[in-house]
Symmetry: C2
Subunit: 237 residues, 2 copies
DNA sequence: CGGTTTTTTGAAAGGGCTCAAGATCCGTGG
DNA sequence: CCACGGATCTTGAGCCCTTTCAAAAAACCG
């Protein structure tokens, strides 16, 4: 709710509808599998605590991390159209999820055009973010991809209402980051070292510090404008 | 409307709402710029005829094609959250677009929960498609990426209600395909030749034929399940 | 404190890129 | 209907970023 509230004012009725999404809680430990690819997508989730990620294997044995889910994110909204899950979901750290039924959205769609518009926008925003990621993964070298990934991560965390300074706890192994960016864990390691040597980042004991944010931005043409959405066309209620 | 009707039955009221999206027409010639990155996103489009594509430049001089838009597709729905366009849009072939105002969606959201759910699903489906594309671009070699791209293209065209056999007219240069897949036009050319030599495809005079669809699928782990959506949770009206 | 998961580092191989240049295709104007 | 110029397709050679394979050091967890 903190995250959604970041974008627009919510009426009381809308707050009540949203509360229904966080009634239940499920606890997971790092490396736990939340759901396997191919399972019926009965429920969606809201991330309450911790980091999660969606991933799938390729026949070649390579793994792709499709998304990283942070506190406040919805999990599975984009797969709602599929009868079966399109990829696995696991916990990147210890964490808590709130599951709710697909049909919960039906209620929102019927009762609150404004909240619907907001959900639609969240979905759309997610796509803009993914698009940006595709651009980085598809066209940049290792240093650029990492810079882009870190900046996007910071940007997303800042929105969820958490206090984020220049440092965060990175709840992902270098291998996992590699699978997110289409790189080998090994090469992630080498590139990370390079970025450190150049004074752009600092990384120790799982804590990542952006020493030179401007320098990182220059490396990957990052533009943070995505995170304020245009609500001018929203219905009033 | 043919495309949306592919997914679910539309009531009369919904058909009327949709008709409003195709009132105007704009004609473009191959290579025309439809809209530039940074422009205010006043209107969205429906593709009536021809192929279009969204693209952006990187500081390195490389170009990324974010999406290819085919007849029946909406253009710009995912960017509706941004006040400004996130990338350029150009015509890949001669074609016709139907522009309509952002606020057209407001009407849909307010009047028809069912149509709203459908639009939301289209958006979500698009994301599943893009996710799949990311997986290919991020983790497969050139042959796999091309195979995946072609199969996805065929699959999308089949849904739009057009009659598609084993051949289509490919309205994209090899360079453009390269920019879509994170490859050089030159390397696309070489790989295309390789695929031909192996009897998987045939390509001449801009017409692409999938000679061995199963072979291509094996190359890229393609799964076409995405194109039937789950409407079980849709509101009734 | 022992086992597992991560991080590091080295050396060699490979897929895709760059640079270059010719061949083709195609729309346009005469 | 033909000629011209730009776009697109081809092909060759050498280079570079990233991957592989291997193995040791560190860090983490119960």
């Amino acid at each position: 709710m903190a995250k959604l509230g970041h974008y627009t004012d919510l009426g009381n009725a809308d707050r009540l509808l949203l509360q229904d999404f966080e009634k239940e809680e499920l606890t997971f430990k790092k490396r736990d599998l939340v759901r396997r690819e191919g399972e019926p997508t009965r429920s969606l989730f809201v991330v309450k605590r911790g980091w999660f990620f969606g991933h799938s294997m390729l026949p070649s044995g390579k793994r792709q991390v499709h998304r990283v889910f942070l506190p406040g994110d919805f999990i599975g909204t984009h797969e709602i159209v599929c009868a079966e899950a399109t990829y696995d979901i696991s916990a990147a750290s210890d964490g808590v999820l709130c599951p709710f039924d697909k049909s919960g959205l039906k209620v929102v769609f019927t009762r609150s055009p404004r909240l619907t518009a907001l959900l639609y926008s969240i979905e759309a925003l997610d796509q803009v973010t993914q698009d940006d990621r595709l651009r980085a993964v598809s066209r940049m070298d290792a240093a650029g991809r990492l810079a882009h990934f870190f900046l996007q991560m910071f940007s997303r965390l800042r929105i969820s209402g958490e206090q984020v300074g220049r440092s965060i706890r990175l709840e992902m192994s270098q291998e996992l980051i590699g699978d997110t960016l289409g790189l080998t864990g090994i090469h992630v390691n080498r590139t990370l070292k390079q970025l450190s040597d150049e004074g752009l980042i600092e990384l120790s004991a799982g804590v990542l510090t952006l020493t030179d944010e401007a320098g990182l931005k220059a490396l990957c043409d990052f533009d943070d404008m995505h995170y304020r959405i245009d609500t001018s066309w929203f219905p009033d209620t």
